[in-house]
C-alpha cells in the first residue's frame, strides 16, 4: 500500500518540488523517514503520530516508511508534517481520494492535529504553479499570502481532520482569495512625515535628491541633530510599491518567516540593524541560509546608524549586494541567491566624541583618533555612496520656529515625477533609476551644457575627482535635472551635485 503527494522544500527564494511517499509494509511496527531529512523533519515522526491519533484516525500498526524524494536534496523545516500525515492516511485507506496527487501540501502539525503556520508559503504557491498542480493545501494563516500568486487554487486548512475531509469531499473549502489592490492601499498615511523635521533644509534636499535617483546617502553630524529622524522619513517620499514589487518583498519576508501574520508587505521596508550585527546577520546565511538585512531591505531602505561602529567585515559584506542588487550565500551544503536592491542610508558622527565642527561644543578628540575613526569606512564602500551631506546641530532659531514645514506628500509627488522621467529614458534596460546606470548609459544620458562642462573641469582639478566620482557627480546632476524636469544638465544642477562631494576635499572621509 503506497500513497504519494507533492510538497516543496524552500531553497533560497524558490520552492523545489519534493514528492512525499508513504509505504505500509508487513512486519513489526516501525516508522522511519528517509530522503535526507534534517533533525526538524525527523521529529515529524512524533508530531505526525500524535496528530493522527488525536484526530480520530488510526495510526497504522505497520512498518511505515516515508520517503522524501529526490533523496539528494536536503529537507528541513516542519512543513512536511502535513503531507506526511496525509499520505500516511491515504496509504492506510483512511482517505480515499484521487485528488491527492494533484495537490501539494505544506504545514506543521501540532500534537492535537491543528495545522500551524509555516514560512515560505508564497514561494510554494509559485512552485505549485510552475509544477502545473491543481492546488496547494497550506495552513489557514498562510492562505492569503499564498493566494497572491493567483493561478493556483489555495486551500487554507486549520486541522488535519479538515484537510482529510477536503480530500474525501466531505467538506468543501473555498479557495482563498485576496484583493491585492485593497491590501496595497492599506496602511496609507501612517508613516512618519517630513513635516515633523525642523530646519535641516540642506539635508531635506539631499534626501529628496537621493529618493528621486535611488542614490545612496551618508549623513554626518553631531548626536541629536536629526539624522535618524530624517532617515526614517525617507520611505514616505519614495514611490509606493506596485503590486509586483510588493509580492517580491513579501516573498523575502515569507521565506525569512518574518511576515508576522500580515499577508502583503505593502510599504517599502525600512531596516535599521544595530551596529553590533554580524556580517552573517547582514548578508544572510547560516547552515541553512536565511535572508539577511540586505535582503529584508530589498526595494526599501537599509539604514546604518553609527556607520563606523559596524564591524569591518559587516561593512565589506555590503559591497557585493550594493553592486549587483543580489547576494549569493554559499555554505557547505547549499548555495543560494537572495535579491538585495536597497537604498543605503548611513549616518555617522564627525568624530568619536561627536562634536567636531559643532558651533556650541568643543571636540575633545585627538586628530589621529578622528582619522582612525573615519578610516574604518573603506574607500570602496565610500565609492558607492553618491551623496554625502552634513547635518549640523540645530540652533535656537530653528528649534523654536513654528513655521509650517513641507510635508512628505508634495515631496513624494516631485520624486515620483522625476522617477517617471528616468523610467522613460532607461526604458527596457533593466535599470530603474539614475543611480543604477552603467558607464555606457551615463555617457549617453548625462550631457552637461557647455558652461556646465567647464564647471566640471574645474571641479575635477579642485576636488581631485577620480573617474568613479566623476561618474557619480554626473548621475546625481542628472537626477537633480530630472527633479526640475530639465532635459539637459545645467550648471546649477552640476554645482549642487558637486557640493554633495565637497566632503571628500576637506578630508572628511578617509585619508587626510
Amino acid at each position: 500500500m503506497l500513497a504519494r503527494m507533492q510538497s516543496h522544500a524552500v531553497m533560497g527564494m524558490d520552492a523545489c518540488p519534493v514528492s512525499v511517499e508513504a509505504d505500509l509494509g508487513r512486519g513489526l511496527p516501525a516508522f522511519s523517514i528517509v530522503g535526507l531529512p534534517d533533525a526538524s523533519v525527523r521529529e515529524a515522526k512524533e508530531r505526525v503520530r500524535a496528530a493522527v491519533a488525536n484526530s480520530q484516525f488510526e495510526f497504522p500498526l505497520r512498518r511505515i516508511t516515508v520517503n522524501l524524494a529526490p533523496a539528494d536534496l536536503r529537507k528541513e523545516g516542519p512543513q512536511f508534517d502535513l503531507p506526511i500525515a496525509l499520505s500516511l492516511l491515504a496509504a492506510s485507506g483512511q482517505i480515499k481520494s484521487t485528488l491527492l496527487k494533484h495537490y501539494a501540501a505544506a504545514g506543521e502539525l501540532s500534537l492535537d492535529g491543528a495545522v500551524r503556520s509555516i514560512s515560505g508559503a508564497l514561494s510554494m504557491a509559485e512552485g505549485a504553479r510552475r509544477g502545473r498542480l491543481c492546488g496547494l493545501i497550506v495552513p489557514e494563516a498562510n492562505a492569503k499570502e499564498a493566494a497572491l500568486i493567483g493561478a493556483v487554487e489555495v486551500i487554507g486548512v486549520s486541522s488535519l481532520r479538515q484537510a482529510a475531509a477536503f480530500f474525501c469531499k466531505e467538506e468543501k473549502i473555498e479557495p482563498a482569495r485576496v484583493d491585492s489592490a485593497a491590501l496595497l492601499g492599506a496602511g496609507l498615511g501612517i508613516e512618519p512625515d517630513l513635516a515633523e523635521v525642523k530646519g535641516q533644509n540642506l539635508a531635506r534636499r539631499a534626501l529628496e535628491v537621493c529618493a528621486a535617483g535611488g542614490h545612496n546617502l551618508l549623513m554626518i553630524g553631531p548626536p541629536g541633530s536629526g539624522k535618524t529622524m530624517l532617515a526614517r522619513r525617507l520611505p514616505s517620499i519614495l514611490p509606493r510599491l506596485d503590486i509586483n514589487e510588493a509580492i517580491e518583498v513579501t516573498r523575502i519576508y515569507s521565506v525569512a518567516g518574518q511576515l508576522n501574520g500580515s499577508c502583503l508587505i505593502s510599504r517599502r521596508p525600512f531596516r535599521s540593524p544595530h551596529h553590533t550585527i554580524s556580517h552573517v546577520g547582514l548578508a544572510g546565511g547560516g547552515a541553512s541560509p536565511r535572508p539577511g538585512e540586505v535582503s529584508l531591505a530589498h526595494l526599501g531602505v537599509l539604514f546604518l546608524d553609527e556607520l563606523p561602529e559596524f564591524s569591518r567585515m559587516a561593512l565589506e559584506t555590503l559591497r557585493q549586494p550594493m553592486e549587483d542588487g543580489q547576494i549569493s550565500v554559499s555554505r557547505a551544503l547549499i548555495s543560494v541567491t537572495y535579491p538585495s536592491r536597497f537604498m543605503l542610508v548611513a549616518a555617522m558622527n564627525p568624530c568619536p566624541c561627536g562634536y567636531l565642527g559643532d558651533s556650541r561644543r568643543t571636540c575633545s578628540c585627538p586628530p589621529q583618533k578622528v582619522a582612525s575613526y573615519r578610516n574604518r569606512i573603506s574607500g570602496p564602500l565610500m565609492d558607492r555612496i553618491d551623496v554625502a551631506v552634513e547635518v549640523p546641530s540645530l540652533d535656537k532659531k530653528d528649534l523654536m520656529s513654528t513655521v509650517k514645514r513641507e510635508a512628505s506628500a508634495p515631496v513624494a509627488a516631485r520624486v515620483m515625477a522625476a522617477r517617471r522621467r528616468q523610467l522613460e529614458r532607461l526604458n527596457g534596460s533593466g535599470v530603474y533609476c539614475n543611480a543604477g546606470m552603467q558607464a555606457r548609459q551615463t555617457e549617453r544620458f548625462c550631457h552637461p551644457v557647455d558652461d556646465a562642462v567647464r564647471l566640471l573641469e574645474s571641479a575635477i582639478d579642485r576636488l581631485g575627482l577620480n573617474a568613479r566620482s566623476h561618474q557619480r557627480v554626473l548621475k546625481v546632476a542628472r537626477t537633480i535635472a530630472d527633479l526640475e524636469g530639465a532635459a539637459a544638465i545645467e550648471p546649477a544642477h552640476l554645482a549642487e551635485a558637486i557640493s554633495y562631494r565637497s566632503i571628500d576635499r576637506r578630508g572628511w572621509l578617509g585619508v587626510e
Binding site: 513489526l28 511496527p29 516501525a30 516508522f31 500498526l61
Partner: protein, 134 residues
C-alpha cells in the same frame, strides 16, 4: 524511619513474584478474549513473557510485577534497552513462524502489563498498556 528496604531478596522469591505476575496477566488476557500462543518464549538474547493473539493482531507482551513502588512504577522498568531486546526477540519469533500463513496476514503490537502485587498474592494495581512502544 522504618523504610522497607528494596534490597536483594532470595532469587527464588523474585522468580516466584515474576510467575505470579505473569499468571495474573494471563488470566486477564483470557478474560479479554486473547488467545495465548506462547509463554516464556526465550533464546539466549532474552525472553518474551507472553505472545497472544486477538483477531488479526499478534501481541508481544512484557509483564512487570513489583511488590512496592520504591523503585517507581513497574512499567517504568521497560526502558529503551528492554524494548530493543523484545523487538529482537519478536523478530526472531516471526522468522521462525514465517511460513505460517495465519501469521503472514497479521499486524503486530507490543504491550506492557504492569502488576503491583498485594501481600496475599493478588494484584493491588493492574495496568494493561496497549501499543506501549513500537
Amino acid at each position: 524511619m522504618n523504610l522497607e528496604k528494596p534490597g536483594i531478596k532470595p532469587p527464588d522469591a523474585r522468580r516466584q513474584r515474576g510467575r505470579t505476575g505473569e499468571e495474573i496477566a494471563r488470566r486477564h488476557l483470557k478474560r479479554r478474549l486473547y488467545r495465548i500462543i506462547e509463554t516464556n518464549y526465550r533464546s539466549r538474547y532474552g525472553e518474551i513473557d507472553i505472545i497472544a493473539r486477538r483477531g488479526n493482531i499478534i501481541v508481544f507482551i512484557e509483564v512487570k510485577a513489583r511488590s512496592g513502588k520504591l523503585l517507581g512504577e513497574p512499567f517504568e522498568a521497560v526502558g529503551p534497552r528492554k524494548q530493543l531486546q523484545i523487538r529482537r526477540m519478536a523478530a526472531m519469533w516471526l522468522a521462525q513462524h514465517q511460513h505460517d500463513e495465519r501469521i503472514g496476514s497479521c499486524e503486530f503490537r507490543f504491550d506492557v502489563i504492569s502488576v503491583l502485587l498485594a501481600e496475599n498474592g493478588g494484584a493491588r494495581e493492574f495496568r494493561h498498556i496497549k501499543d506501549a512502544f513500537r
